[in-house]
Symmetry: C2
Subunit: 241 residues, 2 copies
DNA sequence: TATCAGTACTTGTGATCACAATACCGTCCC
DNA sequence: GGGACGGTATTGTGATCACAAGTACTGATA
């Protein structure tokens, strides 16, 4: 605290725990679909792969389980959830309520800098090459949405939304792979454009509507996807019957 | 599974882990305000009081921290949060959005049995003796609200609401103690009655309005309470400055 | 008397061990 | 050939230990 402003040579160094790094690494792997829906994750295997003891891993897995990103099996092992059509729809219901509200607030409150950030994220999404890996599209899409939600200045609600995205992550990416990235991207572009226009024009109702439409489209795509691959999911659904 | 329906002699026995029991015990203690806002909880002390090793306790505390029921200090100890007026208001914002929506759904969907459960919970709240411990009023109030939300049939959203209540718990009970139970109860009764009437008459908008009004009243009471005790909270707020 | 160094103690993190429950797999018998 | 049985490996839970970082108390000194 005695340091003068210009002496930025000694800033506090990172002091994150091993557990935290393990947590973030697994979380990212889930978002990037490095684990398949239904896959069981064991503590010792992950610990070996990550080069740590089992302690940080078991705490990281518990953290992800509390956030409902991972699912607790009756054996107390954890696995990547295979969301049923109903579960996915329910999460989307919650997302529509929360994210629609956040979009509304963003349209009311966004200042110039925040608007610029949103537009930048939108450009990044649009400029993604069409034959991109699904995780890239997913990432850009995520950044666009959260640029909006951060402009709502409601950190508590933002923290509620985050885990919902991670929970949808593995199944959404699986969906992307199956349907093809270009179709997904084309669908989202319209809603993104509408949302951006609404926020720019400070029209809260229109912004909420656009975001809700975007989420609803995802939800309906997943319903269709599940119906068409019912037999595949039937096997992954109950590995313990 | 081969057992006949009438042989209820051998049902599956409880197989919860020690960690789970510890978690529930601490959680209940928080709801019942056995810990004060700002109090630091240490692993070893709790372990000794509960008669276990430190392992179950440290996992239970982490669980509560992930749920934001407890707060992580820079030293990585945890403490019962002292919610600032702004933080409390933000949680209430989220609660109004989510719980208002659930009340709306309940008014649309509640069947006779669910309506009966709500009315029962309402009676229990009203019949609570006025000089009751604050935790009893809090408990009855909670049961009334959740009887409504369960009738909405949205388990995912219900899981989002639950931690918000636990987070408010310690500060709300402190508020009850300070303001007096009868004043709180009198204020809530009106809103409860309005909510119940609206659900019974299947009027979603009115139900949402009543629940939002109830939460807003709590929020405003806390604002007032904080302003009047600013000097007390100033000390508890930054125990590490 | 106020300040600072030094020490003992507290606390969370991470590793390792012990154990019970479960899952897996080969074998044997019908 | 197929299903039941039994042994082995795997897995999560809980306890204990080792350690580094931080805190508080103590005593000496200016």
């Amino acid at each position: 605290m005695e340091l003068k402003p210009h002496t930025h040579s000694l800033q506090p160094i990172a002091r994150d725990t091993l557990q935290e790094r393990v947590y973030l690494r697994i979380r990212q792997a889930l978002i990037h679909s490095e684990f398949k829906p239904g896959q069981v994750l064991t503590i010792r295997e992950l610990a070996q792969k990550l080069g740590t003891s089992i302690m940080p891993v078991r705490e990281a897995l518990q953290k992800l389980t509390v956030e409902r990103v991972l699912e607790l099996l009756p054996t107390r092992s954890v696995r990547v959830p295979v969301l049923s059509a109903e579960e996915f729809a329910e999460i989307c219901e919650a997302r529509m309520l929360l994210e629609g509200h956040m979009a509304r607030l963003a349209a009311e409150r966004a200042d110039a800098a925040e608007l610029e950030r949103i537009e930048e994220a939108s450009r990044a999404f649009l400029s993604a090459k069409v034959p991109s890996p699904p995780t890239v599209i997913q990432q850009r899409n995520r950044e666009f949405h959260f640029a909006i939600y951060e402009a709502a200045h409601q950190p508590t609600m933002l923290e509620l939304i985050e885990p919902l995205w991670v929970r949808c992550g593995p199944c959404t990416v699986a969906l992307f792979v199956d349907l093809g990235v270009e179709k997904i991207k084309r669908g989202a572009t319209t809603h993104h454009q509408q949302a951006l226009d609404a926020i720019r024009a400070h029209r809260p109702a229109a912004a909420e509507e656009a975001i809700i439409a975007d989420i609803r489209a995802t939800s309906e795509r997943y319903q269709k996807y599940r119906r068409e691959h019912a037999e595949f999911f039937a096997s992954a659904r109950h590995p313990l019957a």
